[in-house]
């Protein structure tokens, strides 16, 4: 999760703290549609699995807690 929090801070230099696990990243515009490709590549690299966007929704990216549960658990499995 540290790399994800770091990535979010890099993309949002005005953010002077790590986002909390339950903070709404979409509502706060910490992740947006124009950064999304980079974010997906980061998640795929960290998890070692491809992410099929047909099988997920924007809510799966809403909080760090949800991201960890949905994509980074060893048992989360492939989404494709």
């Amino acid at each position: 999760m540290k790399r994800i929090a770091e990535w979010i801070q890099t993309k949002n230099p005005e953010l002077d703290r790590e986002p909390s696990p339950t903070e709404d990243l979409i509502e706060a515009r910490l992740i947006d549609s124009l950064d999304f490709l980079e974010f997906i590549y980061l998640l795929e690299d960290l998890s070692g699995r491809p992410i099929d966007l047909q099988e997920v929704s924007v809510d799966d990216f809403r909080t760090l807690e949800r991201i960890a549960h949905r994509f980074l658990r060893p048992e989360a499995g492939t989404t494709s």
Binding site: S33, L34, F36, L37, Y41, E44, L53, Q54, V58
Partner: protein, 294 residues
């Protein structure tokens, strides 16, 4: 109150009349235009060398000739796949606006735009499916829309369309003229380039008129949002060209690390400038980028 009807000035109206007439007189049947040979010749280059993402980079030396040719193939499949996904998105935006109040002046050309874009999507997808066996998946996600004024929203939508088409056209015009590429590849790029010259001229008129009005009627925040959005959309469009799917299909080990190395290579800055030169010049000409520098 600003309405779209008052935004479209004489320059827009004249361009719509001229481009609509050109679209009618240059109409063709795309389904009968192309010869689709069984395959692209073995050992062929699929993309102009200066357009391949490793061009000029240290990482290019890591690839043998076979991997390099495979990369040119899969980057071309990525490029045409991006076209298919991008066209689907821009068509949805135009469909939402055609024959609605405020769009009476551009609507005659919207019909040609939609018809031609549908055909472009067909031949790009046909190329990918015939010769690559697949389209690369769409890596975009629809996020909840920010609340903007209709004016800013229209500026962003038509800027997205224009930037997308200008960047694609850089690739099309280069590959149409590249004698090192097989004729099938040159032909789809040539035909697309011919149609897109009309779409780009149309889009530039809409964006120019919308920006003029935004500059006089928009507040400072809206103008800042417009400028930031255009800058970020250009950067995002360039990043899409560096496809992990293409690197993986070309047999490149650790495609994520490879992508990071290629993107960070100092040589890519000049390549990006070449791809976006027309877009940068346009936004400087209408005053969006000049103001950013001021």
């Amino acid at each position: 109150m600003t309405t779209n009807a008052t935004i479209w000035d004489d320059e827009v109206a004249i361009a719509v009349t001229r481009l609509t007439a050109a679209a009618e007189s240059e109409y063709y049947n795309p389904y009968q235009t192309f010869e689709w040979p069984e395959s692209i010749p073995e050992g062929a280059l699929w993309m102009s060398e200066d357009l391949v993402t490793v061009h000029g980079t240290a990482a290019a030396a890591e690839l043998d000739r076979e991997q390099y040719l495979a990369l040119s193939k899969w980057e071309s499949i990525n490029f045409y796949s991006l076209n298919v996904h991008g066209i689907r998105e821009l068509m949805q935006e135009v469909v939402q606006r055609i024959h609605t109040p405020g769009f009476e002046i551009p609507t005659p050309f919207f019909h040609h735009f939609l018809g031609e874009e549908n055909e472009h999507m067909w031949f790009f997808a046909e190329f990918c499916l015939r010769y690559g066996g697949k389209l690369f998946a769409n890596r975009a996600m629809t996020f909840p829309k920010e609340q903007h004024s209709a004016l800013l929203d229209n500026f962003i939508v038509f800027s997205r369309i224009l930037i997308f088409e200008q960047i694609v056209d850089h690739f099309n015009s280069r590959m149409a003229a590249d004698a090192a590429l097989p004729e099938t590849i040159r032909a789809i790029n040539r035909v697309h380039h011919q149609d897109e010259s009309r779409h780009i001229a149309f889009g530039a008129q809409l964006v120019r008129a919308l920006w003029l009005r935004l500059r006089t009627d928009g507040d400072d925040k809206e103008i800042a949002v417009a400028r930031q959005y255009v800058e970020k959309y250009i950067a995002s469009s360039l990043q899409q060209l560096y496809s992990v799917d293409a690197y993986r299909n070309a047999g490149i080990p650790d495609p994520f690390a490879f992508r990071s190395r290629v993107l960070a290579d100092p040589s890519r800055s000049a390549a990006h400038d070449a791809v976006t030169a027309r877009t940068d010049a346009f936004y400087r000409r209408i005053g969006l980028f000049d103001q950013a520098a001021a």
